[in-house]
């Protein structure tokens, strides 16, 4: 158990399938560790308070806002960031659907949206458009107007 007063804790987890062990500062969010220490800059910092979804990563396959998730909580977990999706330079069907449907403009919300959509595809469930709106409601996009994002998610789920 962690002792109070000690500001560092050794944790082990995987990022995109790669095992990582490091001493993290207990004051840091998972977002800070992923971006600033491990260099996964595809994880974007938007609002910092869990509203915009730009920092979304998958923890054991579940989308979470990494800005309000302490790094120490990642101990023993499997983390997926946007960098972990494409294999050998080959984009996933979700990434391709986002390109084909023009669901990307400035790109800042894209990593989070692609990861959440990936989790929906992995769930194996079917979603109506209304359900998709709800499932993607934790992400702000200030460019696209959302229609193309919904189309991209639908395309990825159909394939």
């Amino acid at each position: 158990m962690q002792e109070v007063g000690k500001l560092h804790k050794k944790i082990s987890f995987t990022v995109n399938g790669k095992a990582v062990s490091l001493e993290v500062d207990i004051r840091q969010s998972l977002l800070e560790v992923l971006r600033n220490i491990l260099g996964y800059t595809g994880v974007k910092k938007g609002c910092g308070v869990g509203e915009c979804g730009a920092c979304t990563v998958l923890v054991d396959g579940t989308p979470i806002d990494s800005c309000i998730y302490l790094a120490v909580w990642a101990d023993g977990k499997n983390i997926t960031t946007i960098e972990g999706l494409a294999k050998n330079g080959e984009l996933t069907k979700v990434q391709k659907a986002f390109i084909e449907e023009g669901a990307i403009q400035c790109g800042f919300c894209t990593p989070g949206l692609v990861l959440t959509t990936t989790a929906l595809v992995e769930s194996g469930k079917k979603y109506t458009r209304e359900e998709l709106k709800r499932e993607l409601s934790g992400h702000f996009c200030r460019c696209t107007g959302y229609q193309n994002i919904l189309k991209a998610a639908e395309r990825a789920l159909e394939e």
């Binding site: 962690q2 308070v49 869990g50 979304t56 309000i68 302490l70 709800r134 993607l136 409601s137």
Partner: protein, 294 residues
């Protein structure tokens, strides 16, 4: 970087309450979606955290043989929405759970945290008020069980005594069996928003279409979540009709202490209480098998 001065993460409730007994100033953190945001915004300055995330014994939702449903305070909103026991027995709580935040928040935020944060707008609270939920609170010395109505003291203030951890949310069978329910969250957006008003109605009807029992729980209609006792007493034993439901809506306003905030004026909130109580009651009647109110 959060201004965290220290961090404990015990693995059992016994360890957690022992730590709290030694150091009552520890701030309990579970999902962290309120605590970390408050730290970020400065409403909560430096804190030593006691993380209860590893207390596996507080995660489960179960139904006991006598029909009592026990919800572990670490159950997340996503877990509550998807849980078969909740779906089958108290679907209205699932409705409330899915109305909160967005998916990433629901995957992390816990029902115990939602209650202990003490906000009148807590999406689970008005429904738990309507269900007469009881809370089990434990210290290193023992435990006590209190009705959720007594737990809320004021805005952001709950009766969590130094050294206490919430360990169970208890819903007894006489408080859900035979009831139909409905929850309406009124907000400016369909997601990622704080309720302007939350209305949870449960009702039970007799064979002859009389209101046997009704419970009206409101959030953001007063400094704490409330029940509308006057409207409830009036409703019991009455035949269901458009007129009776209209009176119940009017009486519900009498229990409120709404105030003006940037979200809505007092007058507007009172109008919402009157109207949404009626809509939620009609839906609850339908869900209780009473058909459409003409």
């Amino acid at each position: 970087m959060y201004n965290i001065q220290g961090y404990y993460d015990p693995e059992t409730v016994d360890e957690a309450v022992a730590l709290l007994a030694d150091n009552p100033s520890l701030k309990i953190i579970a999902g962290g979606t309120d605590v970390l945001i408050k730290m970020h915004g400065g409403q909560l300055e430096k804190a030593e955290l006691l993380s209860i995330r590893k207390l596996k014994e507080l995660e489960d939702i179960k139904k006991l043989e006598d029909g009592t449903i026990i919800i572990g305070p670490l159950a997340t909103f996503s877990q509550i929405y998807n849980d078969p026991v909740i779906k089958k027995n108290i679907p209205v709580l699932g409705e409330a759970a899915i109305s909160m935040g967005g998916p990433q928040i629901r995957n992390i935020a816990t029902i115990g945290g939602n209650i202990c944060n003490g906000a009148t707008s807590a999406d689970s609270a008005s429904t738990l008020f309507a269900l007469n939920a009881k809370l089990k609170l434990r210290t290193s010395q023992g435990e006590r069980v209190i009705p959720i109505q007594e737990f809320y003291l004021g805005p952001g203030k709950v009766d969590l005594k130094p050294g206490e951890v919430l360990t169970e949310i208890i819903i007894t069978p006489e408080n859900y069996q035979g009831f139909g329910g409905h929850y309406i969250k009124f907000a400016m957006r369909n997601a990622m928003d704080i309720a302007t008003l939350g209305v949870a109605v449960l009702c039970k009807i007799t064979e002859s279409k009389l209101i046997e029992d009704v419970r009206i729980g409101l959030g953001v209609a007063a400094p704490t979540p409330i029940r509308c006792q006057e409207a409830e007493s009036f409703a019991r034993g009455k035949a269901i009709s458009e007129e009776i439901i209209a009176v119940i809506g009017k009486l519900a306003v009498k229990s409120t202490k709404a105030r003006t905030s940037w979200r809505a004026s007092k007058e507007y909130r009172e109008h919402l209480v009157e109207e949404l109580t009626q809509r939620a009651l009609k839906a609850a009647v339908r869900n209780a098998g009473g058909g459409e109110v003409a």
